[in-house]
């Protein structure tokens, strides 16, 4: 799975040919829709994390089916191709309205490996969530902190 994700991120870098116009140009419109799509993707993670997190914090009652549905959704989302989201030129030095740092695209970027670790944590949660509250709580730490894997070096801090 991790390999698949790394491949998927590598593809993001090399598949631009397929996404770009005949002259190799990526339009502003393409960048805009890519940014919208990746924000929506993050929003969906957050939406389903809220269900799991609410249960982990014991603010909403644990329910195995609801927990399983949320964890399945996160796992499924983590497997969706993001190849078209991360277009070169869609960083916060190039455009407004994004916090994606140029480091994502720079040499030595390990964003693919970090994303792979998140996928692993999402699969761990998928297994844990239906089995009981304690297991869900145990999987919450690895899942939550794996979000930080990318947000540590590749997302601009708020201002």
């Amino acid at each position: 799975m991790q390999k698949a994700l790394i491949v998927c991120f590598t593809v993001a870098a090399v598949s631009i040919g397929a996404l770009a116009g005949a002259d190799g140009h990526i339009s502003d419109k393409q960048i805009e829709t890519a940014v919208k799509a990746r924000k929506a993707h993050m929003q969906l993670y957050s939406f389903h994390l809220a269900t799991l997190g609410g249960m982990a914090k014991e603010e909403i009652p644990y329910d195995a089916d609801t927990a399983a549905a949320a964890a399945d959704s996160i796992a499924a989302l983590s497997g969706i191709s993001q190849a078209g989201y991360w277009l070169p030129g869609s960083d916060n030095a190039s455009i407004e309205d994004t916090r994606a740092l140029p480091a994502i695209w720079e040499d030595g970027s390990d964003v693919g490996a970090k994303a792979g670790a998140f996928v692993e944590a999402a699969l761990l949660m998928q297994t844990a969530a239906p089995t009981g509250l304690a297991a869900l709580q145990g999987a919450m730490g690895p899942l939550g902190t794996s979000c930080g894997g990318c947000h540590q070096n590749y997302r601009q801090s708020n201002n």
Partner: protein, 296 residues
């Protein structure tokens, strides 16, 4: 007034005396040799102190995930220059393996090196100085269990006049206050939280705005601050502004997930890697303390 040779000479002598007196008054401070007497060092407790103090966050090698290999080398961009974290592994030559317990405690609590120099306050002794002696004794015992590493230290790139270490005595006298910022009557839990936030966790170092000389503005305690070398700011943690429950704070320090289910970012990701190792009772104490910041 005619400026005589005698007047010039007197002025020079007086200036020299004042500078000497200032340097003497602000000379590097040492712990007394009996400062750790009465503590019983316990490395297992020290592992928790190590996580709470975030030692690994600065001293582990950049681009590694091994939180026990304290090779140093991470760079810190500040308004005063670029600093590099030193090797604090147990290697006797390249690290601190050859230092006595008192020498290590003096470094942490007083910001003074074994050769009697001031450390730059990028090493947060201004916060650590308030730490409980028992916690420090435990920490030192734990540090001695960690592996040796033979990475040489990198010299700091600091510009004049900050390159004169003697001037740091004045900085310490002005800003490394031995007093707690939140005082008054605190519960046992809030008191433990204060030890964790104000001393060990040194949260104020990033979350409190600084004045022009780099001292923390204590009347703006934990009110959020600019992040050096970045466009971002650290968030305001004062209860009135943060508006998080104790449960929210504990969950965040365990998972890095905010009450809105966004995740921690930037340097805070690494802080969470430390705080998630703390027992629930400590995270609850941090929350109990944060909920009274700004309300006192």
């Amino acid at each position: 007034m005619r400026v005589t040779k005698g007047f010039v000479l007197k002025t020079l002598v007086l200036t020299g005396v004042l500078i000497a007196a200032g340097l003497w008054l602000t000379r590097p401070q040492h712990l007394s040799s009996d400062a750790l007497v009465g503590t019983v060092a316990e490395p297992r407790r020290g592992a928790i102190v190590y996580a709470a103090m975030g030692c690994a966050s600065c001293h582990m090698a950049p681009d590694t995930e091994d939180r026990q290999q304290l090779a140093g080398g991470k760079s810190f961009t500040t308004d005063f220059g670029t600093f590099y974290a030193p090797n604090i592994s147990t290697d006797p030559t390249f690290g601190i393996g050859g230092w006595s317990d008192i020498a290590i405690a003096t470094a942490i609590l007083k910001g003074t090196s074994p050769d009697g120099q001031h450390y730059y306050p990028v090493f947060p002794y201004g916060s650590y100085g308030k730490a409980d002696r028992q916690d420090i004794a435990d920490l030192i015992a734990y540090l001695r269990t960690l592996p040796a590493d033979q990475t040489p230290n990198k010299p700091h790139a600091v510009s004049f006049p900050f390159s004169i270490r003697a001037s740091l005595g004045g900085w310490k006298a002005l800003f490394a206050s031995p007093d707690w910022t939140v005082s008054g009557t605190l519960s046992a839990e809030q008191t433990r939280g204060r030890e964790l936030v104000e001393a060990l966790g040194h949260c104020g170092e990033c979350h409190t705005p600084r004045n022009i000389l780099g001292g923390m503005q204590r009347d703006n305690w934990l009110a959020g601050a600019a992040i050096p070398g970045s466009k971002g700011r650290t968030p305001n943690l004062r209860a009135q502004q943060l508006q998080w429950s104790a449960n929210d704070i504990v969950a965040y320090l365990k998972t890095g997930l905010t009450p809105d289910f966004d995740s921690a970012g930037g340097e805070m990701v690494d802080v969470i890697a430390n705080t998630r190792q703390l027992p629930d009772s400590d995270l609850e104490a941090i929350a109990a303390y944060l909920l009274i910041v700004g309300a006192e």
